[in-house]
């Protein structure tokens, strides 16, 4: 696949105080692909993901070196973080719908950007929910609290909320780890259909999931990218012994 490069990181180092969480990450993430990050806990995959929309800003004593080029600009440089986050959305591990109505959850992002036109908001809400394959399930209860939805629906609502901002990239941090298998498969199908419109980067603990949904997979270990390649290649014939050990469960 010869897709355009969306993210390009160059020698990215990240420190939590004295602890180096990411070591010289060089990675090119392409447009309209699903890229999966796998690796054992604490290997830095989530940390790296959070670098891509500067969510690490929320944590004190984080020091980042190196470049993350997003559409030709280094996002660690002098850029508008708010703007970056509208272009690079994020879905979290636990479904985190806001304690408000389904409609308000979706409209929250656009409203924060100053959109007040009711008709436009209605369209955005409908479109986003449709794209997230949730519209049919919630169209009659848009004004009910989002907390009344099931876990899987909540997570799809969170995806719809992210889509409402019309981002270019969607980051997903273990989006199905709190869901049951059926809800998980629904989200996975959703990702496959969303990949045509957005670039998706997903962190997952489930190797099977990475195999099922991603085009490319990066294996992280101790803050380093051990192997980054086409997913079938990683899963049938990885280049690195450590990748092999990890995906075959002979790790450690």
């Amino acid at each position: 696949m010869d897709n355009k490069v969306k993210f390009n990181t160059k020698n990215l180092d990240l420190f939590y105080g004295d602890f180096q969480a990411l070591k010289s990450i060089n990675m090119e993430i392409c447009e309209n692909e699903v890229t999966a990050f796998i690796g054992p806990s604490g290997c830095g995959k989530s940390t790296f993901l959070r670098c891509l929309n500067r969510m690490n800003d929320l944590i004190d004593c984080v020091d980042i070196k190196g470049e993350i080029i997003f559409d030709g600009k280094d996002i660690n440089g002098d850029i508008d973080v708010i703007n970056l986050r509208t272009r690079v959305g994020m879905v979290f591990q636990k479904p985190n719908p806001f304690p408000m109505s389904i409609y308000d959850n979706i409209a929250y992002g656009p409203k924060c950007q100053g959109l007040k036109d009711k008709a436009k908001l209605d369209t955005i809400v409908k479109d986003s929910l449709e794209r997230a394959a949730l519209w049919d399930e919630v169209k009659d209860r848009l004004n009910k609290s989002a907390l009344g939805l099931s876990g899987g629906q909540q997570q799809r609502l969170c995806i719809a909320r992210t889509i409402a901002m019309n981002p270019e990239v969607i980051l997903m941090d273990e989006p199905t780890s709190a869901l049951d298998p059926i809800a998980t498969l629904k989200i996975e199908d959703l990702m496959q259909s969303l990949k045509k419109l957005y670039t998706i980067i997903i962190v997952t603990h489930s190797m099977q999931q990475a195999g099922r949904i991603s085009d490319k997979t990066a294996f992280f270990l101790m803050g380093e990218v051990i192997e980054f390649n086409e997913t079938p290649k990683i899963f049938t014939n990885p280049d690195d012994k450590r990748t092999e050990d990890y995906i075959t469960g002979r790790f450690g």
Partner: protein, 231 residues
């Protein structure tokens, strides 16, 4: 659910269908070449083997990729494991068609000792059996179990008949030994093809039921079971 996997499974089935069509054509062409002593056609069958070999490797890689990335279980896993076996069997059938074609080239300058009747008939039956098995795989339908068993028996009987006839001819006239042994071998090739086709059906049976059957001691019970399964 699992749209992506369903799509990939369909691709595999389509590819296997394509491969089996090519193989069938090779088989029928080789027998056609035998009957008409058409060396060119026989050579083209031999050439086509490369295509089938390449397809076998490609498909095996693809099935391996699907097993690695999609992590199929239960019926899905049996489907993929069976696909592996079917691909191998098809490739073996193609190899046997090539063997027949090679024999055709060997027989190019001979005048046949008798008109060919049983061999085309056996090949036709083998072809039918292959079609039936592949059909069963595509549709995952094992209701043709009885037909398959009957066809296999018929092929075996024909093979025995061909052997007996060849031996008769060879005993009658020593000049016939060359042709007789080749025709006898071709008969065995076709019987082998029938076996491979039956193997394919056995894997389909495995997909549907998770059990293996042995066509050599097929009893009514298994047939009943398979019919129940299909209802």
């Amino acid at each position: 659910m699992r749209k992506e996997y369903s799509k990939e499974l369909q691709v595999i089935k389509d590819e296997i269908l394509l491969m089996s069509t090519v193989t069938e054509k090779m088989l029928s062409d080789s027998i056609f070449a035998l009957r008409n002593q058409d060396v060119e056609l026989a050579k083209s069958v031999i050439d086509r083997d490369d295509l089938v070999d390449k397809k076998e490797i490609d498909l095996q890689l693809e099935v391996g990729r699907i097993i690695a990335t999609q992590g199929p279980v239960a019926t899905d896993l049996r489907r993929m494991a069976s696909a592996y076996k079917i691909i191998t069997n098809l490739e073996r059938i193609a190899d046997l068609a090539v063997n027949i074609s090679k024999r055709v080239i060997e027989l190019a300058d001979e005048t046949y000792m008798k008109a060919l009747i049983d061999i085309p008939k056996e090949s036709e039956l083998a072809e039918q059996l292959l079609k039936l098995s592949i059909q069963a795989f595509i549709e995952e339908d094992i209701s043709g179990l009885k037909n398959v068993a009957a066809l296999e028996d018929e092929i075996d009987a024909l093979n025995v008949e061909i052997h007996r006839e060849c031996i008769e001819y060879m005993m009658a006239d020593r000049k016939n030994v060359f042709q007789g042994s080749i025709f006898s071998t071709i008969g065995s090739y076709l019987e082998r093809i029938g076996d491979h086709a039956t193997n394919i059906f056995e894997t389909v049976y495995y997909i549907s039921t998770g059990d293996y059957i042995d066509f050599n001691d097929l009893d009514e019970k298994i047939i009943d079971k398979s019919q129940k399964k299909n209802k």
